[in-house]
Amino acid sequence: MKNESKSKAKSEPANVPFAFRAYSPEQLRDVLRKMYLIRRFEEGAEDSYTRGLIHGTMHLSIGQEASALGICMPLKSDDQITSTHRGHGHCIAKGAQVDRMFAEFFGKTTGYCKGRGGSMHIADVSQGNLGANGIVAGGIPIAVGAALSAKMQKNGKVVICFFGDGANNEGAFHESLNMASIWKLPVVFVCENNGYGMSTSTARSTAVANIADRAAGYSMPGVIVDGNNFSAVAEASSAAIERARRGEGPTLIESKTYRHRGHSKSDRNRYRTKEEIDEWKELRDPIALFESELRQFGILNDAGIEEVRASVEKEIADAIQFAKDSPMPNTGAALDYVYTELPQ
């Protein structure tokens, strides 16, 4: 026992976080790239909205990037996710291209949903993203259904079910977690708890201190993780995904995080203090935390980080240009996709 832990300590020092043991420098560099990509995508979307290029509304996940990436990192490309109204980060983390995402936000035919879905229904089915969802908890039973499919088809797929803290008080949450557990389905429930369901804090809305505590009611493991720490999230996700793939059933992960922006574009931030927001931005920003770890463990230096940033700037600028240049749908085609077009 002693020898074993010693030899393990030699190859995998205990003070090295999971991600820096599990992933290659190239993979870690790509994680950073995608974190930037999410943030710059959302900042670009916000800017385009302000300029009147995007209509409707959007829900930004700025500040939650580590959670999206940490959860998706251990997935295989044909594993699936369901996402939420705050789903841009999940979409990018699961492998979507930002040019087609911008095109969707601009309502263009080149968008992932051909301009029919917009921000709230962004999806990339080819990468296993079954879609964001405009209904709080709407995606939870759908994820469990996809997991039932995977089990029936014996295809080895695992489904990640993202939802927010608000969803944990919906009936669909209860029904879905119960069924996933009794049938030991390969699904991982990921509650991204950013502290507020619109304006209502979890303290005011939820009877338990931690949403993960609710896992006990469904006889599944409940895991609390620092959602702003990429490595911590990836470690929890990895364990839950492996458990699901082994056929041992679901896990509920509570990823505690914070959204820097308001709930949506109508939010005046009256329900939280500037001090609270500033503290999360300045002391607990997930990208800054990951950058410092990359430096600390010798993966990237300042120049390397700058290089990643610059490449993302170009990708975002090109993507916005692609969206602007793409064609609008023909208004006569408004009824397309309501039903499947059957061959005559």
């Binding site: 699936q80 369901t82 968008g111 992932y112 949903c113 051909k114 301009g115 029919r116 879905g117 229904h121 999806a123 089915v125 080819s126 079954l130 879609g131 969802n133 405009g134 209904i135 709407g138 939870i140 039973p141 759908i142 994820a143 469990v144 259904g145 996809a146 997991a147 039932l148 499919s149 995977a150 029936m152 088809q153 009936g171 669909a172 209860h174 029904e175 879905s176 119960n178 069924m179 009794i182 397309d336 996709y337 309501v338 039903y339 499947t340 059957l342």
Partner: protein
């Protein structure tokens, strides 16, 4: 076609359709409350669990919203679920998944997915089950683009429409009237389909058209026999599908008979009869009308428990007879 035709009940016909679907397509599975060893609240699934196993005939917890969502998710990812609601009234518990998810998923995702989902709803009054177990809510669902809604009136159609629904790439909602479950009729053996979106003329006539749905087709046929003895010749259109409506069959029939009575069990106000009436009034058939379009539907009331009261709030054969007499009086 060498398949024999037997007399089966409506529920046997549905069970046979499900058995054929389970046998012929590994993607098909059944899900619902007490559909396994219990055999379903109305014994429609019967012994299918013994033939196909509990992995394909899945007893789920009493969780209509979650269960409906599971069916949507499974349909989006390669399966072909047939989901049974124990009573159509319980659709109210699952409306989120039916209306916001199943109906819209393909559209919202720009055609990147389809939702080949079948949902079965035992519907209607006449069983003494009172207000929360007797409703006819098909118009609720027919109001939602993205869904198809069917109401088979005969054992033949119950089987053929269900098999068409299982093949359909989009969500199909089937409303089965509970009083039809024990009605017998000729049903061919083996696989066949009845097209969704096609009405059927059950009886040819010259003096008036009845457009009826579900059990009201049977009641209208009885009314037509009585009216025939009075020299009134009624044509009966069994709508079969209420979304999409077979416009052509209805309009052609009205042009021929010049009179229209819509008969349906659901609450008359804002129901399928209003849609049919407006459709005809807006069409070229309007110029052929010799009488106002009339509707017979359920009262603006929940379904009462007392059996006499229960009968009084939905159209009965004498109501249909009287309705047609009034319609044709102008000419006679």
């Amino acid at each position: 076609m060498n398949s024999a035709v037997r007399e089966l009940t409506y529920s046997q016909a549905i069970q046979e359709a499900m058995a054929i679907a389970l046998e012929s397509d590994p993607r098909v599975f059944l899900m619902g409350e007490d559909i396994g060893v219990y055999g379903g609240a109305f014994q429609v699934t019967g012994d299918l669990v013994e033939r196909f196993g509990s992995d394909r005939v899945i007893d789920m917890p009493i969780s209509e919203l979650g269960g409906a969502g599971l069916a949507v998710g499974a349909a989006m990812t390669g399966m072909r679920p047939i989901f049974e609601f124990q009573f159509s009234d319980f659709a109210t518990l699952a409306m989120e998944q039916i209306v916001n998810q199943a109906a819209k998923m393909r559209f919202m995702l720009g055609g990147e997915v389809s939702v080949p989902l079948v949902m079965r709803f035992p519907a209607g009054s006449g069983t003494g089950a009172a207000a929360q177990h007797s409703q006819s809510l098909e118009a609720w669902l027919a109001h939602v683009p993205g869904l198809k809604v069917i109401q088979p009136a005969t054992p033949h159609d119950a089987k053929g429409l269900l098999l068409a629904a299982v093949q359909d790439p989009d969500p199909v909602m089937i409303f089965e009237h509970k009083l039809l479950y024990k009605v017998k009729g000729p049903v061919p053996e083996g696989h066949y389909t009845v097209p969704i979106g096609k009405a059927e003329i059950r009886r040819m006539g010259r003096d008036a058209t009845i457009v009826a749905t579900s059990i009201m087709v049977q009641k209208s046929l009885k009314a037509a026999e009585i009216l025939q003895t009075e020299g009134i010749d009624v044509e009966i259109v069994d709508l079969r599908t209420i979304r999409p409506i077979d416009r052509e069959t209805v309009i052609n029939s009205v042009k021929k008979t010049t009179r229209l009575l819509c008969v349906y069990e659901a609450v008359k106000t804002l129901g399928i009869g209003a849609e049919i009436s407006a459709m005809v009034a807006e069409s070229e058939a309007f110029d052929y009308l010799d009488a106002p379009i009339m509707r017979l539907g359920g009262a603006d009331s929940p379904i009462p428990y007392n059996p006499e009261l229960e009968k009084s709030v939905v159209p009965q054969v004498p109501d249909i007879v009287a309705g047609i007499r009034n319609l044709v009086q102008g000419r006679r």
